[in-house]
């Protein structure tokens, strides 16, 4: 009986196993659609944080190209030039592949550090890529958003772990 179900599971994994990670990242990006009107960037980049959390938690699940469509969705929602998040997120996943290969000992602090570096680098990259040619936005406007994002990341990681348990429950 059990083996039959097992076999069934292997043959066709439920939609939930794929839909939950992708859906949660898209939902994170869609948090930018919250009906608040902000005159400075205040909300942390939740789509990116969800992606990093899933990638750190389940590295075998993500090929680097998965970031391309997710980044495209994020660009469309956030109003950045198309291609900004596509490039930055894909490069981030490629770099994480390299990091996985070279960094053997991992713990919770290490994951937080990796995510913090990733968020800061990608946010600065997005800032640089989204500046029109004659713009004068100083880079220090990023600081509140970055601090918020770094402090919030452990909570996102915890949320992702909960989602992961629910996703794989049978």
């Amino acid at each position: 009986m059990m083996s039959a179900r097992e076999h069934d599971y292997v043959a066709k994994p439920p939609l939930r196993t794929i839909a939950v990670p992708i859906g949660s990242i898209l939902l994170g990006s869609a948090m930018g659609l919250l009906p608040v009107i902000a005159t400075e960037p205040i909300l942390p980049p939740l789509g990116l944080m969800m992606l990093l959390a899933w990638r750190l938690l389940r590295q075998e699940m993500w090929a680097a190209w998965a970031a391309l469509p997710l980044g495209l969705a994020d660009d469309l929602i956030s109003g950045h030039y198309l291609g900004t998040s596509m490039i930055l997120w894909t490069v981030a996943l490629l770099v994480l592949d390299w990091v996985d290969h070279h960094l053997v000992w991992r713990d919770w602090w290490m994951e937080w550090l990796i995510a913090a570096i990733g968020i800061v680098a990608i946010d600065i990259g997005a800032w640089a890529a989204s500046q029109p040619t004659d713009s004068s936005t100083p880079i220090k406007t990023l600081i509140p958003q970055l601090i918020g994002a770094i402090l919030l990341f452990p909570a996102i990681l915890r949320l992702t772990a909960t989602l992961d348990r629910w996703r794989l429950r049978r």
Partner: protein, 291 residues
Amino acid sequence: MAAPRHRRRGFSRRVQFGLFAGYVIATVGLIVALALLLVARFDPRAFSTVRGIAIDGGSLFTGVGRTAIRSLHDAGDEIDAYVDAGGQNRALKRELAAERRAVIAAKAILLENARLKRLALLTEHLPSPILSARLIGSTPSGQRRFATLAAGRREGVRPGMAVRAPEGLVGRIFETGIFASRVLLLTDGETAVPVRMTRSNIAALATGQGDGTMEIRSLIAGGRPFRRGDLAVTSGTGGVYAPNVPVAVVVEVRSDRAIARPLADPARADFAVVYPIFQAPVVEPPAQPKP
């Protein structure tokens, strides 16, 4: 804990090939994305159809929650109004008396202005608004400062039109969907508004800084032309914005430039009014070919 090695190649041809193909797709995708970014850099209005659909889809999502957020804002204001109500009442009465005198003086000036303009045979074609619509959302996590307006191409909104609230200028339309559009707020780094200081009548340029403020630079070099509390209104130069719309008030002076805060707070503005482009840029006729 040592992390498990999932990317180890092993001897399976299939796994090796799958990994390799993944990296090839990622690289090709990167090149495509880079091309997209370059296209956007040289033509910011590119892919307007796809982006318009995204704006429309997002506005459906955003419009629902907007009322709740606004009522929260209002509740905060209600509570705030009770704090020190007596002192505020006295101060407001004093202010009201002063304002009444000012309004009477302003009415006299208005009449005189109209008379003088008739004398000078000066004609003005100030644009009348196209429509008013709700500002429903913004991009709070992105690096650009956009707000979403609940009106789009179907209602006649086109990129480049000016958007204002009762308190002052909000920005201009950046791109449009069918029933929603993106407004480039004054505080975005791309915004540049030709302004005039009401106190000294100095022409200046106000540019957004991305952090909720604008920087005002005088068009004439030298001196300290700005003071705290100075009001900047649009000058109408360049023809995008109609003249005499309030823009920002100076909050900080840094030698020959000033930091100003926009007067209209898009988070509080119930409705924004869309104006057509004040005077469309004159298209230069092509030069006669030299024989």
